[in-house]
């Protein structure tokens, strides 16, 4: 496979169009660190130079695995991680406050065994913290050389626009990327988030491109879907009437086609649904593996 590269959200950083997502590395998914390292190295060997993790994935274990696996190759890899969710005990160990961001980044740097993070993302909005406070902390981290750029994840369009204007008004750096959920089954961002990102020149990474594994080919027509297994939240998809586990003969036509679609190819969803309808900005990196 020939790997293509794009500029990440106007930062000048060149990233592969496919980014290796590592949420399932660690106790939540694959606890075998050596196996995870092999996956990372195989991805790098394919030309992928973009690895995304988060502090909260397996309580920091994913970051540790990534840090260990990238030893000796760090300079060539663009490493992204996130902050926001609760990390351990303590009232101020979550959210988007300056206090937690400044502490959280040090802990991530330590787990990743690196001196800098290429892309530091705010994992979710936090209405208890003024966005100016968050942007100010992140801008300081860029100036301190601890991060190279920052972005957000799962922000609604209005929050992205609001943050953009606050940054502009206050002379702060701005979110360069957004990472929303996006798949064949979840195209909601096409109505506002993607157009906003395009207009603001932001890069877009996507999470859950295979809809919690539903589009992985694991679930096949006529077979027990086992929707209660795997990623725990995956079970929720069974609550959608269209995809409820029912005998194939009683499924509505749309469901049947969707199931065929899900199992037709090794990876129908790697590129999600975007490239053909919302033409992504050349600045965007859209795919995520896995």
């Amino acid at each position: 496979m020939t790997m293509n590269y794009r500029t990440l959200g106007g930062t000048g950083i060149q990233v592969s169009v496919h980014c290796l997502g590592t949420m399932m590395f660690g106790a939540v998914g694959n606890p075998d660190h050596d196996d995870c390292a092999r996956i990372i190295h195989a991805a790098l060997d394919q030309g992928i130079n973009f690895v995304d993790t988060a502090d909260m994935h397996s309580g920091g274990e994913s970051e540790e695995i990534v840090g260990k696996a990238l030893k000796g190759r760090r300079d060539d890899i663009v490493v992204a991680t996130k902050v926001h969710f609760q990390m351990g005990e303590g009232r101020n160990r979550s959210g988007n406050s300056r206090r937690w961001i400044l502490q959280g980044v040090e802990e991530s740097l330590s787990r990743l065994q690196t001196d800098w993070i290429d892309l530091y993302q705010i994992h979710r909005p936090d209405h208890s913290t003024d966005i100016e406070e968050t942007l100010c902390a992140l801008t300081g981290l860029v100036h301190a050389g601890k991060i190279r750029a920052f972005g957000c994840s799962t922000f609604p369009a209005e929050e992205i626009v609001g943050a953009y204007h606050v940054a502009e008004r206050r002379g702060l750096l701005r979110f360069r990327t957004e990472q929303p959920p996006y798949s064949l089954l979840a195209g909601g961002i096409e109505s506002s988030v993607l157009p906003v990102c395009q207009r603001l020149g932001m890069g877009v990474l996507t999470w859950s491109p295979r809809a919690w594994g539903f589009l992985s080919g694991r679930y096949r027509k006529g077979e027990d879907a086992g929707l209660s297994a795997g990623r725990p939240r995956c079970a929720r998809i069974g609550s959608i009437p269209r995809f409820r586990r029912t005998p194939p003969s009683s499924r509505p036509p749309g469901s049947s086609r969707s199931w065929r679609r899900a199992s037709a190819a090794p990876c129908p969803s790697l590129r999600s649904r975007s490239p053909w309808r919302i033409r992504p900005s050349p600045r965007s990196s859209l795919g995520r593996v896995p």
Binding site: P125, L184, L185, A186, G188, G217, R236, I237, R271, R277
Partner: protein, 66 residues
């Protein structure tokens, strides 16, 4: 590892317009068939108090007519 291999192999797939149009028929553009993220939503969606002004401040109570 198999997952990675499958995904990387699939990256070279090119879908023609007919298939893409069909996908759009199944899942219309701009729509979600499920809620992909229930971790965060505007607080007012869950808290009725945030959606309503105090009773005395509502339009009818103030004698406004619309």
């Amino acid at each position: 590892m198999k997952q990675l291999e499958d995904l990387v192999n699939g990256a070279s797939l090119t879908l023609d317009d007919k298939i893409l149009d069909r996908i759009d028929e199944i899942v219309p553009p701009g729509t979600n068939l499920y809620n992909p993220d229930d971790v965060w939503s505007p607080p007012a969606l869950a808290d009725a108090a945030l959606r309503c002004r105090a009773l005395a401040e509502r339009a009818a109570a103030l004698g406004e007519t619309h």
